[in-house]
Structure formats: structure tokens, C-alpha cells
Symmetry: C2
Subunit: 342 residues, 2 copies
């Protein structure tokens, strides 16, 4: 890192919905930020809007290497391996993080290239159904959970090995970036992350697709009558299909588990409704109870009367590298909490 490691340069690879929004927020704060976009037109649009963008991956990474920049991978899963090969070649000095919606598959690519000590994974739980630079916006990550993975540190602890000090610095750098974006840094191991997002992100995409199809099968009358509940539940089906497939297919094992659980719930409700006295008491009441409970656990309360939004995620103030800090990360993960570093 350069002189002041709390403000490194940021090099964003992929300027789509998430990468573009990240560039906007960091630039708005006056940080040094530049990036690469595969499509020339996307890069050109960003440049026209005053951002520092390029459609040359090699040049962008060489510059990042000179700056000791933090590299943020913001490309779809299928492009991660190829980009990492270029990082190995052109930017051997740089720490790496990412914003990809699956973490095990990324970690396998990292491990295959011996990059574990240079990598802290990330995943912002934010976005819309739109994609590309044109869909990017400032403030997208405000109060959103931003997962930060710490598998390398946990592996060192388990093996009784010392954690590389440069990795600890990288962990700080990534966490500080999250704090700068006003997001909330939630620590998680990659497998736990993938199991959680299979339930709360990838499963909703599959359901949205299936519900769209079943609604469509009802013909134009059903489509004409589709209103709020249907539209809310199917909104994310309009996300670009290749992005949805990338998420679901690269997290297939966890997603199949979530689907099995979901299908079992539906099958039970179906039988209750098909019985002589049709009823759906159990599922509707359980759904209501759990959804109300969720409101209190998933970020700032909307009903707060305070002008300052208070996060409902418990916070742990952490000193990376300090005594027991990896165990503290694990404990914070267990309660879905967030960290602040000092």
C-alpha cells in the first residue's frame, strides 16, 4: 500500500451495476479510483461522465500495480478466473477483493492461483434488477450488509499458523472501504455466506422465474389481473438472464438444498389445501411470524422516529490482529452482526 494505507487507490475491474456504483461512491468521496470495463462503449460512457475508465485490462492492472491499489473484481463469476490470471501477470503487488454474489467458487479460483494471502472476499447485499454502467448509482450501498470473508485467517488459526501481516492490512483496507460506502461490514466464511444467500437471494430469483411462468400460463386474463403481490414477487425475474444463471449455477449445491426445503414446505401446504377441510393455517402463520421477525434483523428500522437511522445489526468494534480477533469475527458472524475496526 502507499503511504496512507487507509486511503489506497482503488482499481475496479468491471463497471456494471455494482462496480459502477462503487466507482461513483468512491469518486464522490474524493478517493483515487479508476477502472476497467470490457465493453468499450461502457468505458467510454463512464469517461464522458468524468470517470477514470479504460477498456484495456493489462494497462489498468499495470497502473494498479504501480499504485499498490486495492483491486476490486466486479465481473460475473464466469470471468473471474480469466481476470485473476491477468492480475497474477500484471499486478503482483496488489491486494484483491471482489463483489461476486458467490464466495466458494471465487475462493477456489483464488486458491488455485496461490492468492489466499492477497484476498479478502466481499459481497454487497444491494442492487436492482437492472445491469450495466447505466444502471449504476451513488448511495447504493448505504446501510446495506457487505459481507467480508475471513477464511484465510480462520484456516491459519485452525492450523496454528501465524496470519500474514499483509493479509491483516488488506482486511483493514477492505473493511475501511465498506465503511466509506456507509455499508455495514458483516463477516462470514465463504461456505456460510453461500448457504445464506442461497436462501435469501438465489432462491428468490428461482421463485420469481417460476412464478412468472405460472402466471403467464394463466393467459391474458391472469396477466391483466396481476398486481402488487405478483409484481413484487417477480420483480427480480427481469434481471439479465446470464447474471441470474451465473449466480444460481455457481452456487448450485447450496441452492438445491434450499429448493428441497422450499418444495417440502409447499408440498405440505398443498396437501393441507387439498384436504377435505382446506386449510393453510400452519404455513401462513409461520410465514407471518418469521417475516415480521425479519424486519427487526435486516438493517435499519424504517419506523424509527430518530432522524439518525440506527442499524439493527449488533456491532463489534474490532482490532484486526489483536488477541482473539478471529474468534470475535466468528462470534459476530454467528449473530449476523457487523464490525467496525479501530
Amino acid at each position: 500500500m502507499t503511504a496512507n494505507d487507509s486511503s489506497p487507490a482503488y482499481c475496479i475491474i468491471g463497471l456494471g451495476l455494482i462496480g459502477g456504483s462503487l466507482m461513483r461512491d468512491l469518486a464522490a468521496r474524493g478517493e483515487t479510483v479508476y477502472g476497467y470495463n470490457r465493453s468499450t462503449s461502457g468505458a467510454r460512457t463512464a469517461i464522458k461522465e468524468g470517470f477514470d475508465a479504460s477498456d484495456r485490462l493489462d494497462k489498468t492492472l499495470i497502473r494498479a500495480n504501480e499504485d499498490h491499489a486495492l483491486i476490486v473484481l466486479a465481473v460475473p463469476m464466469h470471468a473471474v478466473g480469466e481476470v485473476l490470471d491477468a492480475v497474477v501477470e500484471y499486478a503482483p503487488n496488489c491486494g484483491i477483493t471482489d463483489v461476486v454474489s458467490v464466495k466458494t467458487a471465487v475462493y477456489e479460483e483464488i486458491d488455485a492461483r496461490g492468492l489466499k494471502t492477497r484476498y479478502v472476499g466481499g459481497h454487497p447485499m444491494a442492487g436492482t434488477q437492472h445491469s450495466g454502467w447505466k444502471a449504476s448509482e451513488t448511495g447504493m450501498f448505504k446501510r446495506a450488509a457487505w459481507v467480508i470473508t475471513y477464511d484465510y485467517a480462520a484456516e491459519c488459526e485452525a492450523a496454528g499458523e501465524e496470519i500474514d501481516s499483509s493479509w491483516i492490512e488488506l482486511f483493514k483496507t477492505v473493511t475501511r472501504m465498506v465503511e466509506k460506502l456507509k455499508a455495514e461490514a458483516v463477516p462470514a466464511l465463504v461456505t456460510n455466506h453461500d448457504a445464506a444467500v442461497a436462501r435469501v437471494s438465489h432462491l428468490p430469483h428461482v421463485l420469481a422465474a417460476a412464478l412468472s411462468v405460472v402466471g403467464d400460463n394463466g393467459g391474458v386474463l391472469a396477466q391483466s389481473l396481476a398486481a402488487g403481490s405478483f409484481k413484487s414477487a417477480t420483480r427480480v425475474a427481469t434481471t439479465a438472464p446470464d447474471l441470474q444463471r451465473a449466480m444460481c449455477e455457481s452456487n448450485a449445491t447450496a441452492l438445491v438444498g434450499a429448493l428441497d426445503e422450499f418444495i417440502a414446505e409447499l408440498a405440505k401446504a398443498r396437501d393441507d389445501l387439498a384436504s377435505e377441510t382446506p386449510q393453510i393455517k400452519e404455513l401462513i402463520e409461520a410465514g407471518h411470524r418469521t417475516r415480521i421477525r425479519l424486519e427487526a434483523r435486516s438493517g435499519a428500522s424504517k419506523d424509527s422516529v430518530s432522524p439518525v437511522k440506527i442499524s439493527s445489526r449488533p456491532v463489534l468494534r474490532l482490532h484486526p490482529g489483536g488477541p482473539n480477533w478471529v474468534r470475535q469475527l466468528s462470534q459476530t458472524e454467528d449473530i449476523g452482526g457487523r464490525i467496525e475496526i479501530f
Copy 2:
């Protein structure tokens, strides 16, 4: 009806989310509107806000009978029979419509009391997850589909019998009420309505409940990471459980059919994801295609540059009682269209 049958008095039985919003809109237009609410506190709140409300069903219906008012049933399905008994006793002169989210079950209650010639069913495809008078608001029905049933007319046609002229007047009165609310009158037979809403309204409620449960099973980390896609898809799970049960249980046959279709889609996707080369191409692409298509068929386009919102539902201008008018209703239903009367 009184002198001017295009502006009858309106008597709303049940001042909850829908009934209350209806009262607000009609009152704001200067129509004569009054209503009954079972809970004294709800009625009292409406009165305090300047509305003409009562917690006495008999008195309210006697008044409606004197006014030849249009009675609008806005109570949950399980209360419909009891209210209809009171209508038979206290308001034998009045036409009846309703806003209940199932139509076959209501029509059976109507038929059991020999009220077919006095009934035109209705169902506004509008609302929120909240309930009760306090959740009611003006403008809720603007541009929403409002189903109007015409089974009695279709039955007369099929039997070669003449349609009671008072029913035709009632059909006009109900349609005009819908027009006054700036909603769009979509004709449908009760069984077709129930099959359609099983897909686009009741199924989303079941899915929201099941997804809430599966998300909750993931523990606090999953709940902490739940963001836009999960929250959109589960929003309606916060609807009062008894209202959700009333909808689903009174439309159980159609809902079981929709659930079977949905489960089959999911099971197929599950197997595709569990295969050696995990993929979910077919479902994601079909979901994307159908959801994009829906945008064009379910009301005003949000992307229109015109300041005047144009409905995307085809419109038929209809003269109730005129030649072929029942066939025209049926044709309009087949294309999910709306009617305007003259």
C-alpha cells in the same frame, strides 16, 4: 335506484383497507356514501375523520334500503353469509356488489339466498399488506384492474332467457362506480376470476410465507443478509394471517392447481441444478421472457413519456343490454380487456 341512477347512494359494509379506501374516494368526489364497521373503534375513527360510519349493521342496512343504495360487501369471505342474511332481512330493495378476493364462494352464498338478479360481483386488484381503516387511503384504485362478474347474464344467455332489466341497471351502476374510482373494469366469470387470481395473487401469498420460513431457517446470518429480492418476494407475508387464510382457503381448488404447476416447475429446475453440469437456463430464460411480457399487459406503462398514463388493457366501449353485449363481455374477458359503458 333513486332519481339519478348514475349517482346512487353507496353503502359500504366493512371499512377496512379496501372498504375504507372506497369510502374515502367516493366521499372525496362528493358522492353520498356511508358504511358499517363491525369494530366500534374503527367506526369511531372514521366518524372522527368526518365520515358517515356506524357500528350498527341493521340500522345501516335499513337506511340503505330507504335510499335504494348500492350495497358494497367489503368483509372477509367468512363473514359474507352472515351479512347477506342481514341484507335479505333489512335491505330487500338494494343491489349488491362486493370486493372479496374470491368470487365462486361469494356467488354460492348469493345463489343460496336467491340473490343472483341483485348481484354483480367485484374485485379490485389493489391493496397493500396492511389492513383496517387506518391503512385505507385515497387513490388506491387508480388504474387498477377491478374485476366485474357477469355470470347471471351469461347464464340467462345460455338458457335463452331474458336478462332482468334491473340487473342490467345494476351492472351499469357498478361499472360507473369503478369508473369514478379511476379503476379499470375488467369483466370475468367467477370461475375464470378464481383461476386467474389463484395464480397471480393467492400463489404469491403462499410463496411469500414459504420463503419467509426457509429464510428464517437459515438463522440470523441469512436474515441479516436478506435484502431487496427477499424482501420484495416476502412483503405480502406480513398481511394479517386471517385475511390470507380466508383468500387461500376459500379458493383452495384453483390454488392447489396453481401450486401443482408451480411445484413441477421448481422440481424440474432443482433437477437441472443437481445434475453433473448444474444449469438453470430454461427456467431463468422463460421467467425473464414472461415477466418482461407482463409489463406490457398489466396496466399503464411506467416508461411512457406522455404525461397522460395510457392503459395497456384493450378497451371495449359497451352498451349494457344492447345487441350481443354479453358476448362482447366474454370477448373482452378473453383478452384481459376493460370496458367502458355508454
